[in-house]
């Protein structure tokens, strides 16, 4: 099953709309709750990133036999240093993003923690593609702890 959603840059009032629709679909398919939660964290963080950091993009998901394949593509300033962007606490968030409660530099780390495979393709001044795989039966998300 394939689904695609357009994500509009700066559209914070509708941030989470696409992720919410995907959640409904995954629940209707009776997929495991812990898998859905992992998928939702990864998708929501990715969706907010497109809204806050790009000029707009698309979110495409493929529900395969035993996994979810996600491709988030956007046009925008790109990510100059992906390794740096993956560091917890590093953020280029605007004041508007921070006022939404995001921009603490946890978006990409949260995505990484909740996916089984993650590939980020980007460079400064170019588009960004984030490709993720999440298996239905993979381990539960990391436990709650004061990290």
């Amino acid at each position: 099953m394939h689904f695609e959603f357009d994500i509009e840059a700066g559209d914070f009032s509708n941030a989470g709309d696409a992720s919410s629709k995907i959640k409904k679909i995954l629940k209707q398919l009776n997929l495991p709750n812990h898998f859905i939660k992992r998928a939702m964290v990864a998708l929501f963080e990715a969706e907010v990133n497109v809204i806050g950091h790009s000029y707009g993009g698309t979110l495409a998901i493929d529900i395969e036999n035993d996994r979810l394949h996600i491709l988030v593509s956007d046009t925008g300033p790109g990510i100059e240093d992906v390794d740096l962007a993956m560091a917890e606490g590093y953020s280029t968030a605007t004041k508007e993003i921070q006022e939404m409660g995001f921009g603490a530099g946890m978006g990409l780390p949260n995505i990484k923690k909740n996916t089984d495979c993650l590939d980020i393709r980007s460079r400064a001044g170019d588009h960004t593609e984030i490709e993720m795989l999440i298996h239905f039966d993979s381990g539960k998300p990391h436990g709650d702890s004061a990290e």
Binding site: F44, F102, A104
Partner: protein, 114 residues
């Protein structure tokens, strides 16, 4: 902990339909940072926050959080209430600070997520 007890302890008012939509509150987490909230594994928890915008409700939806308690007298908008009703999330408000709210609920036995 029952919803009624939470409201009584922190003098909170409820903005969504009466009842707790079947969720039982076992733990609580206080934060204004939504990405921190998304790191939580626990479900059925109370989110205590001063971040009064629709993204708080969306984050709760994504994280399967059933109760949000806004502190510092924050009042959710109509759009937030509408989304919360749709997702069966309870919204409440207290005039108390986050520190006082967290302390009162902790003292009454509401466990922390960690």
């Amino acid at each position: 902990m029952e919803l009624e007890e939470i409201c009584k302890l922190v003098d909170a008012t409820q903005h969504t339909s009466s009842g707790s939509y079947g969720c039982k509150v076992e733990k609580a987490f206080s934060s204004d940072l939504m990405s921190d909230v998304l790191t939580l594994l626990a479900d059925d928890l109370l989110l205590i926050t001063g971040l009064n915008n629709i993204q708080t409700v969306r984050t709760a939806e994504m994280a399967d959080i059933c109760h949000i308690l806004f502190v510092r007298g924050k009042q959710p908008s109509e759009k937030m209430i509408e989304l919360a009703e749709e997702q069966q999330i309870v919204l409440m408000s207290t005039a108390y600070s986050m520190y006082k709210t967290s302390g009162l609920l902790w003292a009454a036995g509401l466990a922390p997520v960690y």
